[in-house]
């Protein structure tokens, strides 16, 4: 990526110019454009304001979780517990909110606040354990988060007996699930806010750099005077916190606390990151691409539904696209090399 910030001057042939753009932006924007064109041709209802709003809102949850996942990947780890964090947040949040609402039916606002707090705390707690396990006991993130996923799911089932939790104030769903300002859904605003925050954290603070450093070469990070344990710990807490926020938004959308959501989240969020060019070996990845990655996955699913592609075929197509996205990214890496000279 050496050249990204300082394009070498000189007569750039249009093709070269395109290459540059390709290198700078990555493959996803191009794939997105192609997808949009294809689906627009396949269905009249695709390129409509309300459907795009639709896609935007549907993408919110995966996007937020993927942002969290990105931190884990940057430091060379994983978080396989994001699914469970969603579930636990949803269940605990709903239980607390319902209880609070039941206790004081005339203060829904307060109930909502309490519920969200409880849920987010519960979700983040999982992250705390992950952090301690990985940073202090250096348990491999894979096992640590997989273990916590299993534990957390067990707890969520305990709390609910497997049945959905309801009784949350109507306002919760109305605002955070389905509310909209100026035709844009509330969840989208929240996501946008989180994206900005994460972007700043990652690109404009020392801590942000430390995630890359720890993932890139943990020994070097230590020799440079970085508290690697602290950074690792922060990684999993932040990931859990973001996921928990996503969990509360999802709960608002569902209007119930569900123990059975998010099973496919871990792999989907990692996939979103990887097609966005985040390296599983750590140290490489950009926030904006991760957002595009999550968007891409949702857009394709939405497009295929609108294009009435039958669902078995959809699984196949999705698989193919994931692979193609990465193959295309390989080309990009070649070009990068080319552009160095």
């Amino acid at each position: 990526m050496a050249m990204l910030e300082q394009p070498t001057p000189g007569a750039a042939a249009p093709s070269l110019w395109l290459k540059r753009l390709f290198v700078r932006l990555g493959v996803l924007p191009f794939l997105l454009i192609v997808a949009v064109i294809v689906f627009t041709l396949m269905s009249d209802n695709f390129l409509t304001g309300r459907n795009l709003a639709n896609v935007a809102r549907q993408s919110v949850y995966l996007t937020i979780v993927s942002l969290g996942q990105m931190f884990a990947l940057l430091t060379g780890g994983f978080d396989l517990s994001v699914g469970t964090i969603l579930a636990l947040t949803s269940v605990v949040g709903a239980l607390a909110m319902a209880a609070a609402f039941g206790a004081m039916p005339d203060a829904p606002g307060l109930a909502i606040a309490i519920g969200c707090l409880a849920g987010i705390l519960a979700g983040t707690a999982i992250g705390l354990f992950n952090g301690v396990g990985v940073a202090i006991f250096n348990v491999s993130p894979f096992i640590m988060t997989l273990g916590m996923a299993s534990i957390g799911f067990g707890i969520a089932l305990f709390l609910t007996g497997g049945v959905p939790v309801y009784g949350m104030p109507q306002e919760f769903g109305d605002v955070f699930g389905f509310g909209a300002w100026f035709g844009i859904d509330v969840p989208v605003y929240v996501a946008a806010l989180l994206i900005v925050v994460v972007y700043l954290l990652v690109n404009w603070t020392p801590l942000g750099r430390y995630f890359y450093a720890v993932g890139g070469n943990i020994k070097a990070a230590r020799l440079s005077g970085i508290g690697t344990r602290t950074v690792l710990f922060a990684t999993y807490v932040i990931c859990a916190l973001l996921t928990a926020l996503g969990g509360m938004l999802l709960t608002a959308r569902l209007d119930t606390g569900e123990a059975n959501i998010g099973a496919s989240m871990p792999l989907e969020s990692i996939a979103a990151c990887v097609i966005a060019g985040v390296s599983l070996r750590g140290g490489v990845g950009r926030v904006e691409n991760v957002v595009l990655g999550a968007l891409f996955i949702n857009l394709v699913q939405n497009g295929m539904n609108l294009a009435r592609i039958e669902s078995y075929l959809q699984t196949v197509v999705l698989g193919v696209l994931l692979i193609l996205a990465v193959v295309a990214d390989q080309l990009r890496l070649r070009y990068i090399a080319d552009l160095k000279d």
Binding site: L200, W204, T205, A213, G216, A221, R222, L223, S224, D341
Partner: protein, 518 residues
């Protein structure tokens, strides 16, 4: 490790002048690694404004000692005093705070980050909690200019050569206010020009009263910049002597307990038929341009040149590691242009890379597996289908003895050995199969004198046994003393070919820079 009964006098300080109060003092410091006592009750004093050289064999404990001073390692026992005050150096950050900063032997760089980001890693300047990117960029530029290193602040470190990475590591140490500067083999993969620059810098900070701890295996450097020398052996303090007056032989004796008459062995060249011939070779990346050279049986051909001159790349291209745009490579008369390492090895050509961590060794695997890797299908390592574990173990043991691996434990993971000993493992790989042409790229990076002699003898024996040897080195004396023919590279081109008595420092150096003048 062998213990030497005859002791060399306690901490007798034979260097009289400047009785200034010590800037930094170590008292009875020990460090135990699982299984090893790396450092055993060592005393050490550093005065302001002196260059204090740490000297000792590979594995003597030098890096361990400076890692503790730099706050990267905690001592098992012992006391540190900084400006007379006892201190607990419990983190790199803390040490930095005191103005102690280090150039680490194995670098402290994050490959995926840019030069600039690496320079200030752990000490980013911020405004309102946010990174002050402009300031960072300007400071980076300033430092690089001051040090005169030709680096672009926004290149990613992984795209740099080891030499260039070394410069980044050095620049990193110079970034903050200094009181103690630690340099652990900073010149290992630098060439004359950068080394000269570095020494100028060292003189500067000396003048400002900074205490410099300098680790090197190059005796010539000790003369050039050293004030005092502390010798370590097997993790124990041996002596502190004056750098200018102590004769080299004496140093080596202190270090090894043995006496070497000659550092560079006499090689009896008997050039035979041409084994490797390169004709007007140009690499796709342009790092080599129309280079032609040849290597005959029974001779050592040296390749000298500045960093980035392409002397490595020409060998890499021959071995099939660099894309070749034009030209021919012939091995024993056969056209082998653009063939990969596998075919090259089969044809008896072996390339020993300069960066053991990056391209040389599987750090987490045992020595045995690393050494035998290139030849698992050949006797005694196997019969093509199956492995012969006993044969493997025996042969690797023997090679470990020949190269005097310390400690001689071939089942231990490579990462647990000191730098020099890792280098020995790397060399051992080339002796596991029949080879006619060797290319050694920086074969003595970070290797102590004793081992150097071993390696040079190793190379000599190969040569006298009739092999053709390509010796690529940034350590000029190596090229001067060992090769009977030498090529000087400049900007990817062969600048000059010298033979026999022509190979003198002046002649070679003249071709290093020539075109700069023009």
């Amino acid at each position: 490790m062998t213990h030497h009964p005859e002791s060399d006098g306690g901490p007798s300080d034979r260097a009289a002048p400047l009785p200034a109060a010590p800037l930094l003092e170590l008292r009875g410091v020990s460090r135990r690694f699982p299984g090893v006592l790396a450092l055993d009750k060592v005393d050490f004093q550093l005065r302001p404004g002196e260059v204090h050289v740490l000297f000792g064999e590979n594995g003597a404990g030098k890096s361990t000692m400076i890692s503790m001073i730099a706050g990267a390692l905690r001592p098992s026992e012992g006391e540190f005093r900084f400006r007379g005050e006892p201190v607990e150096l419990n983190s790199v950050h803390h040490a930095r705070g005191l103005g102690i900063s280090a150039v680490f032997q194995e670098f402290s760089l994050v490959p995926q980050m840019t030069v600039e980001e690496n320079l200030f890693l752990g000490a980013e300047s911020t405004r309102l909690g946010l990174l002050d990117r402009r300031a960072l960029h300007d400071r980076a530029d300033a430092i690089l200019k001051r040090l005169g290193f030709p680096l672009r602040p926004r290149d990613r470190v992984l795209h740099l050569t080891r030499a260039e990475q070394q410069m980044v590591e050095i620049a990193k140490a110079f970034r903050s206010e200094l009181s103690v500067l630690i340099l652990d083999e900073p010149t290992a993969s630098l060439t004359e020009r950068e080394t000269a620059q570095l020494f100028k810098l060292i003189e500067q900070v000396k003048a400002q009263g900074v205490g410099v701890i300098y680790i090197t295996h190059r005796l010539s450097e000790i003369r050039r910049i050293g004030d005092r020398i502390t010798v370590l052996r097997d993790g124990r303090y041996v002596a502190t002597v004056d750098a200018q007056t102590t004769p080299e032989g004496e140093l080596v004796r202190l270090m090894t307990g043995r006496v070497y008459d000659e550092l560079f062995p006499k090689v009896r060249f008997k050039p035979g038929r041409e084994l490797l011939s390169v004709e007007r070779l140009t690499t796709a990346s342009g790092s080599v341009v129309e280079a032609s050279l040849s290597v005959c049986a029974g001779e050592i051909v040296g390749l000298a040149g500045l960093v980035g001159s392409g002397k490595s790349e020409v060998a890499r291209a021959c071995f099939g590691l660099e894309k070749i745009a034009e030209g021919h490579v012939r091995l024993k008369g056969e056209e082998v242009t653009g063939q990969g390492p596998k075919r090259m090895l089969k044809r008896g050509f072996f390339y020993v890379p300069p960066d053991r961590r990056d391209e040389g060794l599987m750090m987490m695997r045992p020595v045995r597996e690393n050494v035998s890797l290139p030849s698992l299908t050949l006797a005694p390592f196997g019969n093509g289908a199956l492995l012969d574990r006993r044969g493997e173990t025996d042969r690797v043991r023997r090679l470990a003895e020949q190269l005097n691996l310390q400690p001689p434990r071939i089942e231990r993971a490579v990462e647990a050995f000191s730098g020099g000993n890792q280098q020995k493992v790397l060399l051992a790989k080339s002796r596991t199969r029949p080879v006619q042409v060797f290319a050694f790229d920086e074969p003595t990076v970070g290797v102590d004198v004793g081992t150097r002699v071993a390696i040079y003898e190793f190379i000599r024996d190969l040569c006298e046994a009739g092999a053709g040897i390509l010796l690529i080195s940034s350590d000029l004396p190596e090229v001067l003393n060992l090769s009977n023919r030498a090529y000087v590279f400049y900007r990817g081109r062969v600048q000059a070919e010298l033979a026999g008595d022509e190979i003198t420092e002046e002649k070679v150096l003249s071709h290093f820079f020539e075109r700069d003048a023009a």
